[in-house]
């Protein structure tokens, strides 16, 4: 095959040449599992935010990302307004701990709608047989999807905190002082967002992995997030004996709230955790256990799922 790469000389050389556009082999580098894992991870991340998909797929993710961010902006504006006019008694302007507590519901919505989208399609259209016949293991597929959804949720949860921090720093002239104060929160922020992301994404994917139809999967995921809470609430208000207190550990919302309380070192606010009188550290342990447990269930399911 004559190399036509360089400048075609106008001299007596061959006036023209025909290049072989036939099938060419590939002798470049062939990467392994890690590359396959990162490809699936990036694909999953884009799918969670509906990038590269029809407009309709972007509605829910946009909604879940925008609202918490807007609340943060409002809070910063409120802070700015208060300091500008010297009004100090505006009541405690919500800070990071309150943000962590209230924004969790958006994580639930995002995972409930997107988890079935990430898994259901490949099962319903039997695309798994093409994925598993490639340079990856079945576990890699499940973990890549979990990592993608987890990362997406964590990013969504972090956004409002970043806005709050930027707001706090901009509001005062004493930039270094503000930075110092804000820095104090960030270990807890990172811990809380990571834990919430891992737990919600894990549970959602673990449920979606068993239900092919998207409509049923979303309803089931909402059920798993909501129903234990109702049951725990009813049982605990009826004080049916000491043992029943631990039922609250089934309700992810309350457990995460307790975990946040431990991380930020504040008293658990919403939910029925205070009623049970259990130590908040138990909430943290429970949250981690739920995240790990659901991850294991997801991986085990994809080890045996029919491709």
């Amino acid at each position: 095959m004559t190399a036509g790469g360089d400048r075609v000389s106008a001299g007596p050389g061959p006036a023209g040449s025909i290049y072989d556009i036939g099938y060419r082999g590939y002798d470049g580098p062939r990467l392994g599992r890690r590359h396959a894992f990162s490809t699936l991870f990036v694909g999953g991340l884009r799918a969670t935010f509906g990038l590269g998909r029809s407009g309709r797929a972007k509605i829910v993710p946009a909604f879940c990302v925008a609202l918490p961010a807007i609340t943060a902006v409002v809070i910063v504006a409120l802070g700015a307004f208060a300091s500008r006019f010297g009004i100090s008694d505006l009541g405690v302007i919500p800070g990071h701990p309150d943000m962590a507590g209230s924004v969790g519901v958006f994580a639930t919505i995002l995972v409930a709608v997107q988890a079935p989208e990430l898994l259901g399609r490949d099962v319903r259209y039997r695309v798994l047989s093409l994925y598993f016949s490639r340079a990856l293991l079945r576990e890699d597929y499940a973990l890549a999807k979990l990592a993608a959804l987890g990362a997406a949720v964590m990013a969504m949860l972090l956004l409002p905190h970043v806005i709050l921090t930027i707001g706090a720093v901009l509001l005062t002239t004493d930039v270094l002082g503000a930075l110092g104060r804000e820095a104090g929160y960030w270990p807890a922020i990172l811990g809380s967002t990571a834990l919430t992301a891992a737990a919600t994404a894990g549970v959602a994917l673990a449920v979606a992995a068993f239900i092919a139809r998207r409509a049923y999967a979303t309803v089931a995921i909402f059920g798993v997030f909501v129903v234990p809470g109702i049951i725990a609430a009813v049982v605990i208000t009826l004080e049916l004996g000491a043992a029943s207190r631990y039922l609250v550990l089934l309700d992810l919302g309350t457990v995460l709230d307790a975990a946040n309380a431990w991380l930020f070192g504040v008293a658990p606010t919403a939910g029925i955790w205070p009623v049970t009188g259990l130590p908040v550290s138990l909430g943290l342990v429970a949250a981690i256990a739920i995240a790990l447990g659901s991850g294991v269930i997801l991986v085990q399911r994809y080890r045996t799922i029919a491709a």
Binding site: A215, Y216, V219, I231, V234, V235, L238, E239, L240
Partner: protein, 270 residues
């Protein structure tokens, strides 16, 4: 495994003589098939769990001893929120849409349609089973939960009322959603929207919606039996409820039969 050549050449024409089986046995056959297919599905078993939930909670409430007889707040919480608002419509939705919907989706409906039987018989057989299963699930659950929560004379009437109301409610839900599944492939989604939005949110705000809300029929009938004679302003009149429920069932059945007789392949099923 070669084909035995001894197929007795009965030649074209009905196999053997004798009277054709009666219309009733055809309905029974379809009904048995539908029951077996509905109960075989994992989703239906989940409904059984959903039905047991109110009974379990009623039992827990009774165990805790906190709720005195007739304690309104807990009873309405369990009976209204769990049974009437959630259990009955969900059971009606799943059984109603799956009774024929399942076969439309996986193609098994075809061998039912290419038979010399009236489409009405298919509809009737399927409705009988779907309604039967739904009522068998919700009525006992309502009755037991009601009886546990409010023992004694008035309680019993309340329990019977709950059972009767939920039975009627389940029947109407199943029939309406059955017809809806034949009208559109997205019956499940539309059904969910009807339950959550129309009956859930709007009924509370707009008076008018109550007339077309199956939940109100249930509540009206239950209340009428539990406290005969007591007129409750924000409840439908029991006579109206019964008539409206009957109309709904009849209209839905007629629609279902007409839709099935003009059913064309590749149309309603998604």
């Amino acid at each position: 495994m070669s084909i035995p050549a001894t197929h007795d050449p009965a030649g074209p024409g009905p196999a053997g003589s004798g009277p054709a089986a009666s219309r009733g046995s055809v309905i029974a056959t379809i009904a048995a098939l539908t029951a077996r297919s509905l109960l075989g599905r994992r989703r239906s078993l989940l409904l059984v769990l959903l039905a047991i939930l109110p009974v379990a909670i009623a039992f827990l409430v009774r165990l805790s001893g906190r709720a005195t007889a007739g304690d309104e707040e807990v009873t309405t919480a369990v009976m209204d929120r769990l049974v009437v608002t959630t259990l009955v419509p969900i059971v009606g939705l799943v059984f109603g849409t799956a009774a024929l919907g399942a076969e439309l989706e996986d193609g098994t409906a075809v061998f039912l349609l290419v038979k010399p039987i009236g489409r009405a018989q298919i509809v009737i057989a399927k409705l009988v089973v779907a309604v039967g299963l739904s009522v068998a699930l919700v009525a006992p659950a309502a009755f037991i939960a009601g009886a546990i929560l409010a023992p004694g004379g008035t309680g019993l009437a309340g329990a019977i009322g709950a059972a009767a109301g939920t039975a009627v409610g389940a029947t109407v839900y199943v029939t309406v959603f059955f017809a809806l599944r034949l009208v559109t492939g997205r019956a499940l989604a539309i059904g969910l929207v009807y339950i959550l939005v129309w009956e859930g949110v709007l009924a509370g705000l707009l008076e008018g919606t109550r007339v077309l809300s199956i939940r109100q029929y249930t509540l009206a009938i239950s209340a009428a039996i539990a406290q005969p004679g007591v007129v409750d302003p924000d409840r439908l009149d029991v006579r109206a409820a019964v008539v409206l429920a009957a109309i709904a069932v009849i209209v839905a059945t007629v629609i279902a039969v007409r839709r099935l007789s003009t059913f064309q392949i590749g149309q309603a099923d998604d």
